[in-house]
């Protein structure tokens, strides 16, 4: 086994995005396109370009929950315009695909209309859920909330701003149905017979970097491995179906749905 230096940042492929935005356009503070016709066109664009991540009603999924009165990255119309046009750097939110100025405003109008919908009600007691999270669930062994916990799984400090309650319930009961983009469990066998199961941190044509299930970091040159098994669609997270009662699942989801960072 040859260990190469640890890599802690991800090299992302540069992909040119084309948006027909006039660079001389001065973005107004208020959305100028909010008529019913604008909303209708905005809804059509949203279904085509946004719904697959944010959910058809903005309920969230892979993308952030938009059915809420305040959006962290878009406190006003001008900011929302820029989020749609430019995306959010450092997140999975890409720039808008082929939306011109008017269409961007129509999308923004529809997104704001989602925030006026009644907030999702969640059964269960978040306090009891917080206790279950630590005790019976041992969730803190793999997830960080407000700086505390292990880092094998995704951080959950603001999870409710990005995922709906339904998505969180699915993650608790059937974790493999809600894997984040790019997540991959791998099993490795080194030339000297060592076996490692873990989560892929990074990979290129020649090397792979892995965190094992105890949190250990490893980096390998692929040709030094006897086996590299990709368990696509698998997750080391156990299902809590059968472990938790229905009421306990409600409590845990209620706790997770309360995690909104400083919001």
């Amino acid at each position: 086994m040859r260990l190469v230096c640890m890599i802690f940042s991800f090299a992302l492929a540069a992909t040119a995005q084309l948006t027909p935005f006039d660079p001389e356009y001065v973005v107004p503070k208020k959305n100028p396109n909010t008529t019913p016709a604008d909303l209708k066109n905005g809804q059509q664009l949203f279904m085509g370009q946004c719904a697959r991540c944010h959910g058809p009603k903005g309920e969230g999924g892979r993308g952030a929950v938009l059915a809420q009165p305040k959006l962290r990255h878009a406190p006003d119309d001008e900011a929302l315009f820029h989020v749609i046009q430019d995306g959010i750097k450092g997140t999975e939110m890409p720039p808008g695909y082929a939306v011109d100025t008017r269409e961007t405003w129509q999308l923004a109008a529809y997104v704001r209309s989602l925030g006026r919908m009644a907030p999702e009600t969640v059964p269960g007691d978040p306090k009891r859920g917080q206790e279950l999270y630590r005790s019976k669930g041992h969730c803190n062994q793999c997830h960080i909330v407000s700086g505390q916990g292990g880092s094998i799984g995704p951080e959950l400090t603001e999870i409710a701003t990005r995922r709906s309650a339904a998505h969180l319930r699915a993650a608790v009961l059937d974790p493999e149905s809600t894997l984040p983009e790019g997540f991959l469990e791998v099993r490795l066998v080194t030339k000297d017979g060592g076996r490692i199961t873990g989560v892929r941190l990074n990979e290129d044509t020649f090397t792979i970097q892995v965190m094992d299930l105890n949190g250990g970091l490893h980096s390998f040159v692929k040709e030094d491995l006897k086996e590299l098994q990709r368990d696509t669609g698998k997750s080391p997270m156990p299902s809590f179906r059968g472990t938790f009662s229905a009421a306990e699942v409600d409590d845990l989801v209620a706790y997770l749905y309360s995690l909104r960072g400083n919001q």
Partner: protein
């Protein structure tokens, strides 16, 4: 714009005259890399064999030059007599000593305000002829620089940048003219290819890639849609000095993804043009993707090589197209000789006897989105293929990636983008790619080396029986040119979006590639 003398060493090789004869016979002096693609035939092949399959594992970085830029670097260096001429984003140029990596001079281009472009202020390289270095700038000028100092000899505006024109391609030097192509295909500009007098900067000829009303080809555009027809020319072509023909690819028709108004084949978009080097007159054209609605520019590198097709010897053009098909054309006539797909595609059943694609249904963009292979970036793109006469293989950096093509509104406003839609990735699909070696006369796959993600960098083949290429994840690597076996790799730390070159420095073979904002130069460890 201003000129900065950064450094001048006491004992350095003198910048030599790079005559037209030297350019024409560049294959006879592999110590230098005199044009964008290494020779007029655009083969990106280095006739050097110090670095071989047997010793490539001893390849180590010898110096790194870092550009002060956050723009994407796609440059391909030109090297003459120990000096490397590197273009930088926007159209700046730096001359570097190849022994030490230290700058000899720098030309810093200050761009005019309001300059725009769809895809970053990239610049892919320079041309040299006699005592002058030529560079195109992002504000659509062609600039001539003194080869020893970087001082501006002349500066000619090629087109109005306020309309969306820009230059990202390296110029191509002929006997006494400098040929340059233009970018701006996402702005509804009218495409062109120009030649300028090498000494004065006066325009010698212009070929409009979209015909005016009444001219041949104008009947392939409905109404007045040709006025915003694009067909830009943003990657350097090839040159056949025997026939005095310039070969140059053209880009997408405008608007990119909504072809409803521009009914017809839309000449000369997505074509290979054969132009007379003296006059710019069209000798022939071949259109790869008639009435393109996927933004599959045909600005890839035309590679000139002799080959035998069905028992008949041809001076041919080999072309790996963005539409995922490989073509063999006769160089004298443009006649289609052979072709087949080389990357994943779902839009065409194949090519007919004339090379025209046989379209499959449901592959055009829609309001809801149509899933099509390849994606907008294509089966390959601007990054260079390579042809080795030693292995008789054509090497292409291939992408097997699909996209969801969306049709949108297309309203032309001068200087603003005019796309008529767009493309989003297929959710959950990991982009993949490979370095593929094709039999040049058929396009048949000889071998492939799979990449972790899609290809985004060009290929160099060498007389040392090696192929060099790069990855999105920053690996620069060498393969056995005959079999595709991995022999060496080096992690540069940033995405590689550039083409490799090779030459001698102090009698020792170097290989250079841009990665991130830097040029990495490698040589064998002593």
């Amino acid at each position: 714009m201003r000129r900065t003398i950064c450094f001048l060493a006491g004992v350095l090789p003198l910048a030599a005259q790079v005559s037209y004869d030297r350019l024409r016979q560049s294959d006879s002096e592999p110590a230098n890399w005199l044009t964008y693609s290494g020779n007029y035939s655009a083969q990106r092949y280095a006739g050097l064999n110090q670095i071989t399959a047997a010793n490539v594992r001893r390849l180590r970085p010898v110096w790194v030059y870092q550009m002060q830029t956050t723009e994407r670097v796609e440059t391909s260096p030109v090297v003459a007599d120990g000096i490397m001429y590197v273009s930088e984003p926007g159209g700046s140029v730096t001359a570097l000593d190849t022994l030490t990596g230290r700058p000899l001079w720098k030309y810093a281009r200050t761009l005019a305000k309001g300059v725009r472009g769809c895809c970053g202020q990239v610049n892919r390289g320079v041309a040299i002829l006699n005592d002058t270095v030529y560079v195109g700038t992002f504000d659509a000028h062609l600039v001539a620089l003194d080869i020893k100092s970087g001082i501006v000899r002349w500066d000619s505006e090629v087109a109005d940048p306020k309309l969306g024109y820009s230059i990202t391609a390296a110029p191509l030097a002929l006997k006494d003219k400098i040929v340059i192509g233009i970018a701006g295909g996402e702005y509804g500009v009218r495409g062109l290819i120009d030649a300028y007098d090498a000494k004065t900067g006066q325009r010698a000829w212009r070929f409009w890639t979209v015909p005016a009303a009444g001219e041949p080809g104008s009947e392939t555009w409905a109404g007045d849609t040709s006025k915003t027809g694009a067909a830009t020319t943003w990657v350097t072509g090839a040159y056949d000095p025997e026939q005095n023909i310039v070969f140059w690819g053209t880009g997408n028709p405008g608007p990119d993804w909504n072809g409803d108004a521009r009914v017809g084949d839309n000449l000369y978009s997505d074509c290979l043009l054969a132009l007379d080097g003296d006059t710019g007159k069209l000798k022939w054209h071949f259109q790869f993707t008639p009435h393109d609605v996927h933004d599959w520019d045909s600005t890839e590198i035309p590679v000139l090589a002799d080959t035998v097709v069905r028992g008949e010897k041809h001076k041919a053009v080999l072309f790996g197209n963005r539409n995922a098909f490989y073509y063999v054309l006769d160089r004298g006539t443009g006649k289609f000789l052979a072709g087949r797909d080389y990357a994943k595609q779902s839009w065409a059943k194949g090519l007919d006897d004339s090379g025209r694609p046989i379209m499959l249904p449901n592959s055009s963009p829609t309001m809801e989105g149509a899933k099509v292979y390849p994606d907008v970036t294509g089966g390959t793109n601007w990054f260079s293929p390579s042809y080795s006469s030693q292995t008789n293989l054509f090497y292409v950096a291939a992408r097997d990636v699909g996209g969801v093509f969306l049709k949108g509104n297309a309203e032309y406003k001068p200087g603003a983008q005019f796309n008529g839609g767009g493309q989003s990735p297929i959710v959950g699909e990991n982009p993949t790619g490979a370095i593929r070696a094709l039999t040049p006369n058929t396009g048949e796959l000889k071998w492939e080396f799979k990449l972790y993600s899609d290809a985004g960098a060009g290929i160099l083949s060498t007389a040392g029986n090696l192929v060099f290429a790069g990855t999105n994840e920053g690996d620069f690597f060498a393969l056995d040119a005959a079999a595709g076996r991995s022999l060496w790799h080096f992690q540069t730390g940033a995405t590689i979006n550039a083409n490799p070159v090779s030459y001698l420095s102090g009698g020792k073979q170097q290989v250079a590639i841009a990665s991130g904002n830097s040029i990495f130069v490698f040589a064998l460890e002593d």
